[in-house]
Subunit: 313 residues, 2 copies
């Protein structure tokens, strides 16, 4: 058995599971708003709790975080854990445990989980994107997860696609996630409502300023035509960045995950259509399959565990 | 022994070489402006000629072309061989030969050659870019060449970095190669000369319109200050696209090749400095090494041979 813990900005999702089948044998969900030593203590306690769930031996513990996590277990910078700069998380957790502890990026881990247990089973070359507050991404190439030299691969959300475009909170101009994250979908909804083109959103949120991506998603599900237009524009933005990734990596399948994916099939279809329109040389390429993620909010924890199992085994 | 033939727009560069050491035992350079059957005949003749150079057995023949070359040996589209659309080149050449024939993209092949025999020896995660008429690119991840699902990986020159930017001949707006190819360097020289900011280029070429990347390169070598400013601006454009690739793939080394690389150290240094300035999270990342390619015009032929040796052996 393996333990994977996905440490987000507000909560940590821990799973005890069988790496061969993905069968989950234990769960633990804890608030993650802790400073370094308290976070370490909380993680060690989660591991104990998960281990005690069943009388099985645990062979590895994987930790997943957003941002720059090194192969050697150091959080260099994580937007969700801003106080943990250059923090040797894996090593600190390791002190309290007798099994190998391995750190990885949450979206890279998510890609690996989808490849082995979810929507990417049997696919040797795939791209996974998680559309949420920002855009996380992870890749599988030649049947292997792409960690990169340091463990930092998969930061495609920060890829600049509009060098003269609006300034993002990262300081960059026009990165992909500015246009195609869940946050961007909310901004598109607010802008449309302020211009009188999204009355359903305005009614649901109370004011244009209060509209988030969730209001747009719900309006799409309710069949609102304004929201459908927003989704089309949003799908185009998602596809723009994916077109770059297809040119670079030539995956046969793209898996879309993250919070925005609750919209489901209309998003998948929109992205697939825009991708085939935007992709250079489309006439000479087989179409790239676009599918929805299957593992939902567990992808990060499962993937962190799977990366750990591989790295330590 | 292996044979690799890099089929460019005007000439084909064929090499007989030892895949372990890269030692070249025979060479053949032929004009490549042929239609399908004549090109096949020419390639078969080149192979015969190279084979007769030494009494050694050849175990694989690799062919490299620009553009979309499938793993199964079909040229889907090559800008240098515009008549060969959906042409099964490897299969056609195979008819005339008794050793495996494998087709690959020239820049992907170049990346693999630099990884095994050139500036990337011992590096598991690297990016290779060839700055010429356009931008070719190829990647090594986890110590393996990245071919992609179809064989189309490495088309980073077409990555859009300025979605509202100028239209390129591909029909895209603002792809990287519009700004950072050898062609772009020539355009920067012409624009500067037309504005009175590159008198040395004007004098060398006769008119602003006649300036090419080569005039800029030569003026740089001659120590011209205007050309040095152009090189700085050009290095920034090269680094912009590389910054995206580093975010995506996290290589520890970037290898710059192609015709423009004749400028040498000033280009390498400019790109390295701009990359560290432009790269998000630079304070938390080890600097990415930027080095010049070592294999020059032979990279494509060597790489095509090496890919063939691996695929067939």
């Amino acid at each position: 058995m393996i333990i994977g813990i996905d440490i987000g900005g507000t909560k940590a999702n821990g799973l005890l599971f069988d790496p061969e089948t993905g069968a989950v044998r234990g769960r633990s969900l804890q608030p993650s708003r802790h400073r370094g030593p308290e976070l370490v203590e909380m993680i060690v306690a989660m591991v104990s709790q998960l281990r005690s769930a069943e009388a099985v031996s645990v062979t590895a513990v994987g930790l997943g975080v957003a941002g720059l996590a090194t192969r050697s277990g150091i959080i260099r910078y994580s937007p969700n854990l801003p106080e943990l700069i250059e923090y040797p998380l894996a090593q600190e957790v390791q002190r309290g445990l007798d099994v190998p502890v391995v750190l990885s990026n949450d979206a890279t881990a998510g890609a690996w989980a989808e490849a082995l247990l979810g929507a990417g089973r049997g696919v040797a070359d795939l791209v996974f994107v998680a559309l949420g507050t920002g855009i996380g991404s992870g890749f599988v190439v030649n049947g292997q997860v792409v960690l990169g030299a340091n463990g930092f691969a998969g930061e495609a959300g920060h890829m600049v696609i509009d060098r003269a475009g609006p300034e993002h909170h990262t300081g960059q101009r026009g990165p992909w996630e500015y246009f195609a994250s869940g946050t961007a979908l909310g901004r598109m909804g607010r802008d449309a409502a302020a211009a009188g083109r999204f009355p359903a959103g305005l009614a649901a949120a109370g004011s244009a300023d209060a509209i988030t991506g969730l209001h747009v998603s719900r309006a799409i599900e309710a069949g609102d035509q304004d929201a459908a237009r927003l989704l089309d524009a949003f799908s185009c933005e998602v596809a723009r960045g994916l077109a770059n990734l297809v040119l670079i990596l030539d995956p046969s399948r793209i898996i879309i995950g993250g919070g925005v994916v609750d919209v489901g099939e209309p998003l998948r279809q929109g992205v697939e259509q825009w991708l085939s329109r935007l992709l250079l040389g489309g006439a000479h390429r087989p179409p790239v399959e676009v599918v929805l993620a299957e593992l939902g909010a567990d992808a990060g924890a499962l993937g962190a565990g799977l990366v750990a199992a591989e790295a330590s085994g």
